[in-house]
C-alpha cells in the first residue's frame, strides 16, 4: 500500500510527504499489506491518501466515506475542513447528506441529470423549508392543518411533525394549545429533510 502512495507522490511536482499522510490517516498499521487484503473501509482511506499526497488544488471525491468506520469518517471530514481552510477546492458527490451539510460552502443538487439547485445551505433552507416543529399530543391532525406557514403535517401515532417555512409564526399560532403539547422540539431543516421534501414535491408534480 505504501508503494502505491509513493508511486502516486512521484507523479506530482509538489507532493506531500507520504509518511505524513500515512500518519494523518492512520494508515501505518497496514502500510506493507497488499491492497487485495484491505477491507472496503481501509481501501477508502487509501484512496483518500492518494488524493492527499498529490497536494492538488482541486479534488473530486466520489462517495468518499462509503464503507468507512466512524473514526475514519471523522478523520476524513476533519481533513476536508483543513483543506477548505487552506483554500483548496473539493468537489464531493455523496448520498450521506447529514455529513455533507456540516462542511460544504456550496451545494449542487442533481435530479435526472440536471442541476436542480446551486447555492448555499442557508439559501436552500430559505427556498424550500426552514424548520420542523415536532411534539407529542392527543389533538387531531386537522387542528394543525392550515396553521400559518405550515407546508406539511406528518403524524405517527401521537408524534406530530410540522414542516414550516417560518417556525416563529407557526409557534405563535400553536400557543393556545401549548399546554396540550409535550416534548416540543424545533429543528432547522437538514439537507436530508429538504432533499426528501424536494423529491416528494417533484414526484407529486410528475
Amino acid at each position: 500500500m505504501r508503494d502505491l502512495l509513493q508511486l502516486t507522490a512521484a507523479q506530482y511536482r509538489n507532493p506531500r510527504p507520504v509518511a505524513d499522510v500515512m500518519e494523518e490517516l492512520a494508515l501505518i498499521s497496514f502500510a506493507k499489506r497488499p491492497l487485495s487484503r484491505l477491507s472496503g473501509g481501509q481501501l477508502r482511506k487509501v484512496a483518500f491518501g492518494l488524493t492527499l499526497v498529490s497536494n492538488a488544488q482541486l479534488l473530486f471525491l466520489d462517495e468518499p466515506t462509503v464503507g468507512m468506520d466512524v473514526n475514519a469518517r471523522q478523520i476524513f471530514w476533519r481533513k476536508i475542513e483543513q483543506m477548505r481552510v487552506r483554500g483548496k477546492t473539493v468537489l464531493i458527490t455523496s448520498h450521506y447528506l447529514a455529513e455533507i451539510q456540516e462542511v460544504v460552502d456550496r451545494i449542487l443538487i442533481l435530479k435526472a441529470g440536471k442541476i436542480k439547485f446551486n447555492g448555499t445551505l442557508a439559501e436552500l433552507q430559505r427556498g424550500y423549508l426552514t424548520s420542523q416543529i415536532s411534539f407529542v399530543t392527543n389533538l387531531p391532525k386537522a387542528r394543525f392543518q392550515g396553521l400559518p406557514n405550515v407546508k406539511q403535517v406528518l403524524v405517527k401515532g401521537q408524534q406530530v411533525t410540522l414542516e414550516t417555512t417560518d417556525s416563529d409564526q407557526t409557534l405563535r399560532a400553536l400557543a393556545p394549545w401549548l399546554n396540550q403539547l409535550n416534548n416540543v422540539k424545533i429543528t432547522a431543516a437538514s439537507l436530508e429533510n429538504i432533499f426528501t421534501a424536494m423529491t416528494k414535491e417533484d414526484d407529486r408534480h410528475e
Binding site: Q6, L7, A10, Q11, Y12, S54
Partner: protein, 252 residues
Amino acid sequence: MNKLWEQLKFDGKRLVFRNPSFLIMSLGMPAFFYWLFTKLFTNPATNNREFAGSYLGSMMVYSLLITLLMGMSTALIRDRNEGLTVFLKLNHHRLDNYYASFLLWNTLKNFMAMGILGLVAAYLNAITLDLVQWLSLLGLILVGQIPIMLLAGVLANVKRQETLGMLMNLVTFPLAIVSGLWWPLETMPEWVQNIGRHLPTYFLNHTIGQVINHAKINWSSVVGISEWILIMALVTAGVAQLFTKRSSAINA
C-alpha cells in the same frame, strides 16, 4: 527520472520479488524439468553432455515463454482491468514510464532465469560457460524475446482474464512442444517438425543450444528471429490500429 525510478521500484516488488508465480513457474518449473530430463530420465544412447547443454537452452526459452506469455500478458490485463493504467494515466497523463518499467523488468526476469538455470546446469551437469558465451546468451535472449513480448502484448488486448487464460494455454504449451523445448523435435512427426522449424522459439532455442555447445552458429536462425520480429511488429501495429479505430467509433 524520479517517476521512472518509483515505477521501477513499484513494479520490481509486485512483478518479481513478491510474485510467487514467477518464482514457481518461470524459475522453479524449468529448473525441475532440467533436473528431471538430464539427471533422472537419461538415455545412455545419447551424448549426455551435449543434451544437457542443449536442454539448458530449451529451458531458458521455456522460462522466457512462461514469463512473457503467461506472466506479462496477465499482469498487463490485470492492471488494465483493476484500473492501475487509468489511474497512472490520470495522474501522469502518459503510460511511458509504466511500459518502460514493464519491458525492463520482464527482460531482467528473463536474464535472471537464464542465470539461475545456468547455475543449476553447472551444479547438476558441470556445464560451465565462459564470459563470451554468457554475453552471447544475454544478447540472444534480449533480441529473441522481442517477438514473444509483442505476442504477449497482442494477447493482452482481450477483455477478460478468463479468455486470456484460455489463449495462453492454447499458445504457450503448443509453442513449447512444437518448437522442441520439452522433447527433441526429431522425435515428432515430420509435419510437426516442419511447423516447429519455422517458429521463433525454435530459432532462439536452436541458436542458444549452439552457443552453449560451442557449435557453429547457424545464422539462418538469427535471420528467422529477425523475420519474426518484423512479423510481430506488423501484427502489433495492425491490432493497435484496429483498437484505435474501434475506440474512435465508440467515442464518435
